[in-house]
Amino acid sequence: MNNVHFSLDITGIFWNPIALVIIFAAIMILIFIWGRISFNRDYNEKTAQVKPFNSGNVEEIDYNVQSSNLYWGFRRALSGFYTRMIEYHDGDLNNYLKWMVIIVALCLLLVSGGFL
């Protein structure tokens, strides 16, 4: 118990979360004080300020971007990868087991090759 510190220090890796939290808190306090001094104070809860701006649309229903449409660019860019992958996750029990048999056979090949 005598070599327990509150910072992580193992063979060249140093990490002190307490210091980080203190620095973070200090910065937040500084920003808070700075904001009190110099930020504008025109926020009013009773006006339409609090309502989200929805590109001029009046109705608020479904103003959020649907989560399936998030990261569509990423998905589009990797569409070949994704069609392949989703094809593998087809919910077929036999295929699940086939992969295990294949991996076992590959590892046995490694054994026979003298690699393992």
Binding site: H89, D90, G91, D92, L93, N94, L97, K98, V101
Partner: protein
């Protein structure tokens, strides 16, 4: 090879069972395939313990000690355990298959797949 024929039987049983597991589409048949694999394993353990001319390891009314030859006791105890576990597994899987059938009206793996209709 003559001494090894029991081992060969073991390998063939495991082979048949695993093949059926990989290529059968019916939930009930998969349970049967699993049972075949398990019987192969049980036979494997029994084969490890066997010796020709050996009696069961029970001393009640056994022949005299001079000609007494006994098979090994531990694998028999283990396959007793394994049989019960196999029975329990298949009972649970059959129950789950019944419930699957009640909810989906099919036992075919191909028709039960379909991640996309989860919502």
């Amino acid at each position: 090879m003559g001494n090894y024929f029991l081992y060969v039987t073991v390998v063939l049983l495991i082979f048949i069972g695993v093949t059926a597991l990989l290529y059968k589409k019916n939930l009930i048949k998969i349970v049967i395939a699993l049972n075949i694999v398990e019987s192969g394993l049980n036979l494997f353990f029994l084969t490890l313990a066997y010796r020709p001319g050996g009696t069961a390891p029970i001393f009640t009314l056994a022949p005299g000690l001079e000609e007494l030859k006994m098979v090994l006791p531990t694998p028999q105890a283990l396959i007793l355990t394994n049989i019960v576990i196999g029975f329990a597994t298949s009972a649970l899987m059959l129950t789950l298959a019944i419930m699957t059938y009640r909810n989906n009206k099919t036992l075919d793996i191909q028709k039960l797949r379909g991640v996309e209709d989860h919502d």
